[in-house]
């Protein structure tokens, strides 16, 4: 009977992680692209994410603590298994956050802080990709603890997902710059977006084929009797990719970003279908890893009240800072 809250928490947590990936994804992507744009455009690029980035990062806390509260066993196994990727991500985020603030306070050190900002964004993204790859591959578990070593994360597959996420966040970042900038910088962002898009397409295909070959269970899920219901997903992903290619080449400002978000949603859905209903792949289902109903119910009451308010405020602050940014806004 106490299983009844598990689907609700799965949806809340999935939504939270997706919001985090989309929002911090675009500002980490912009952070990486910041190192590639012309020197004159760097200020504009910074303004494009200035009011948003720290709010976006707060979703990471909610995601981490939400996992701990709703599925504590998963938290206690997964996080130690990705000890070094998590550490790299945290340090890169600290580095990047402080670099962002201080590049405006130390003009004479601006180049150094710029490099720190770009490198911090890249390392944080790559580390998140390592976490994703390790998660899909699964962990060595004995009883209720992770039983591998802290270097198990370093596999060719997780390196691939690391690169894939850098391209993915790059795509989101480029699409965000298309939305927020004009002129040469916008044209540059459209080209950068198309390059990332090609990379993302290759990576999605590579990850899909690799997981199907490596895991008979995942292959059976996609090519078994449910194939007819699942086949539209890869086709839809392909169609979205083509649509995104045309959107980056066209005149629309918002469409590239929306198509990039849809691509992320489809990939997210694909991974969920591959692993469902496991939260610790190969070992524990969502139901087995869940906290007792008394814990889930106690937190749900407040979450249902507060989460809509948080979403409302987030939307409102994006609305306040809508429109194009320029270098010397005056």
């Amino acid at each position: 009977m106490w299983h009844s809250l598990v689907p609700i928490w799965t949806v809340i947590l999935g939504l939270g992680i997706f919001i985090y990936v989309t929002l911090d994804g675009f500002d980490l992507g912009v952070g990486m692209l910041h190192g590639l744009v012309r020197e004159d455009d760097r200020e504009t690029v910074m303004h494009a994410i200035g009011p948003f980035w720290d709010g976006n990062e707060t979703w990471l806390i909610l995601g981490g603590v939400g996992l701990l509260a709703a599925f504590p066993l998963a938290f206690a196994i997964i996080i130690p298994a990705v000890y070094f990727p998590i550490m790299l991500m945290l340090l890169a985020l600290v580095f990047r956050g402080v670099a962002f603030e201080f590049r405006f306070e130390h003009p004479h050190l601006r180049r150094a802080w710029d490099i720190a900002f770009c490198a911090g964004s890249a390392v944080a993204t790559f580390a998140q990709g390592l976490v994703l790859g390790s998660f899909i591959q699964g962990f060595k578990v004995e009883g209720r603890v992770f039983a591998g070593t802290s270097f198990d994360f370093a596999t060719p597959f997780s390196l691939l997902t690391g690169v894939a996420l850098m391209l993915g966040y790059g795509l989101l970042g480029a699409a965000w710059l298309v939305l927020k900038t004009e002129g040469d910088l916008q044209a540059w962002s459209r080209r950068a977006g198309r390059i990332c898009l090609v990379g993302v397409g290759v990576c999605i295909a590579a990850v899909s084929i690799w997981t199907a070959l490596a895991s008979p269970a995942i292959a059976a899920r996609w090519f078994g009797p449910e194939m007819i219901y699942l086949a539209p997903l890869p086709l839809l992903t392909l169609a979205t990719g083509i649509y995104a290619w045309r959107a980056f080449g066209g005149n629309a400002d918002l469409t590239p970003f929306l198509t990039a978000v849809v691509l992320f949603a489809l990939s997210f859905l694909g991974i969920t279908i591959s692993l469902w209903p496991m939260i610790v792949p190969g070992h524990y289902t969502l139901w087995q890893a869940a906290s007792p109903e008394s814990s889930q119910a106690f937190l749900l009451i407040g979450t249902l009240g507060l989460l809509p308010l948080v979403l409302f405020y987030t939307g409102w602050s994006y609305w306040i800072f809508r429109g194009k940014v320029t270098a010397g806004a005056a």
């Binding site: 009011p51 909610l62 206690a76 962002f100 201080f102 039983a147 070593t149 937190l299 507060l306 306040i320």
Partner: protein, 457 residues
């Protein structure tokens, strides 16, 4: 022993939380101070109050940003290094942590934007309301995190199954026996810490007087609260109390040890300076009362004596210095010589960081005193650490945390100290421009504002 993952994980935890706690120690008090200033500005309509409020709001925003980045690290530490603690306690503690995220996230992040950039855009009462909400957010955040910490000290409202804690009574969990004392003691400490920083700003006479008025009430109050908190510790955590007092033997009447060098190996206090019978009077509030010495506890249930013993004396020593300064300030003011007493103003400036030292010392007292447990009497620290970690793993991560924090935090703190030193007048000329409300990204936005198109047109 040199590369023990348990020992190194503890050092890493101390390292990341000690830097982090400096920020709430400052921002909790500061948020309330800003709310008071905004209230004065709203009700009196005098410009000076809103100028002082804007100055401190800018500093608040920088420390809030640093608090966010160092705060993100904390919950993940529970997974990376303390995964068995997480598995055991999450059913009880994780919902409280999540409530901290939800309440603090919503209130602080949303209303700080209005406070920073909205003075000319929203009605004055809305601006005042925003200040109140930010202050409430910091107090809610403190509420939840200290409830978690207190539950680890004095667990209640649960049952144990299969070596894991399960919640029975949320009210009893949240308002566990040590929580009310710890909450009041901490919030008062945070207010005093902020008071000591604020009061070092000698050119703003009003700020100095406000701070002195606050301190002459709060410092003695804190001593009373501290005593009550101590009585609570004596009742629920007698071994911690014995360690704080440096008491190995049980004797009556009990002397008060002022200073000494505790030696856990031989269970003796060397070079002890003590006042006979005063311990009975102060600690048990009776002439012959006594406390159980550490010998009364099994050897594997005793905390180390050194850290809580020394840290407690540092904390109390600082409290006495603070009491002297607060009293001296009032005396000078009564004599009408406050603004001419250069020595006093210099003393104020020098002692500004004392509150932070006291907070860290108090934290050390209570946390090391809880050892060898993470959940007092029920879950050992040694059984809380992540089993897959090798000493080399943690040595590597700890070194990297050390390097990055040593670059980032001193830079940030120096920047804030610079802002405070330059004072209200300087901030007024290059202060934050008034633009639309939004996310707090203050140094960024204060340097080069992003003006929404709606405002430009």
């Amino acid at each position: 022993m040199a590369l023990d993952p348990l020992w190194l994980s503890r050092v890493q935890w101390v390292w990341v939380i000690s830097w982090h706690i400096l920020l709430p120690a400052f921002t909790v008090g500061l948020a309330s101070y800003i709310a008071v200033l905004e209230g004065l500005a709203y009700f009196s309509g005098r410009k000076i109050w809103s100028e002082i409020a804007s100055f401190w709001t800018r500093i608040f925003a920088v420390s809030f940003g640093m608090g966010v980045v160092s705060g993100i690290v904390m919950p993940f530490q529970l997974g990376t290094n303390w995964s068995r603690f997480s598995d055991s306690t999450a059913n009880v503690l994780a919902p409280l942590l999540a409530y901290e995220g939800l309440t603090a996230f919503f209130l602080e992040a949303s209303f700080l934007g209005v406070l920073l950039f909205g003075r000319k855009l929203v009605a004055p009462w809305v601006h005042f309301f925003a200040a109140l909400m930010v202050a409430a957010g910091t107090l809610f955040s403190t509420f939840w995190i200290l409830s978690v910490n207190s539950w680890m000290q004095t667990p209640a409202g649960f049952h144990v199954e299969d070596r894991r804690f399960f919640p029975d009574d949320w009210w009893a969990i949240i308002f566990n026996p040590s929580f009310p004392y710890r909450y009041v003691h901490n919030v008062t400490a945070f207010y005093i810490t902020t008071g000591f920083v604020g009061r070092s700003r000698d050119q703003a006479k009003m700020m100095l007087r406000m701070a002195l008025n606050l301190l002459i009430v709060l410092v003695p109050l804190q001593m009373i609260v501290g005593d009550l908190h101590g009585q609570n510790t004596l009742r629920y955590q007698p071994a911690k109390f014995a360690a704080i007092e440096g008491r190995y033997d049980t004797v009556s009447p009990l002397p008060l040890t002022l200073f000494g060098i505790p030696d856990d190996a031989t269970s003796t206090m060397r070079d002890e300076v003590a006042i006979p019978s005063l311990g009975s009077l102060l600690l048990t509030h009776s002439k012959t009362g006594t406390i159980k010495g550490l010998h009364s506890f099994a050897a594997d249930q005793r905390p180390p004596v050194g850290p809580p013993f020394y840290a407690f004396r540092i904390m109390v020593g600082i409290a006495l210095v603070m009491l002297f300064i607060a009293a001296a300030g009032q005396l000078l003011r009564w004599l009408g010589r406050l603004d001419d007493a250069a020595w006093f103003l210099r003393l104020c400036e020098r002692t500004a960081p004392l509150g932070f030292v006291a907070v860290l010392a108090g934290w050390t007292t209570t946390e090391v005193g809880r050892q060898p447990w993470t959940v007092y009497g029920l879950l050992r620290t040694a059984q809380s650490v992540t089993p897959s970690l090798s000493g080399g793993d943690v040595a590597l991560s700890l070194s990297l945390y050390a390097v990055v924090y040593l670059i980032m935090f001193p830079t940030g703190l120096a920047f804030m100290a610079g802002l405070i030193r330059r004072g209200v007048a300087a901030a007024d000329s290059d202060g934050p421009p008034e633009i639309a409300a939004g996310r707090p990204a203050p140094p960024y936005v204060t340097a080069i504002p992003v003006i929404p198109p709606a405002m430009v047109e």
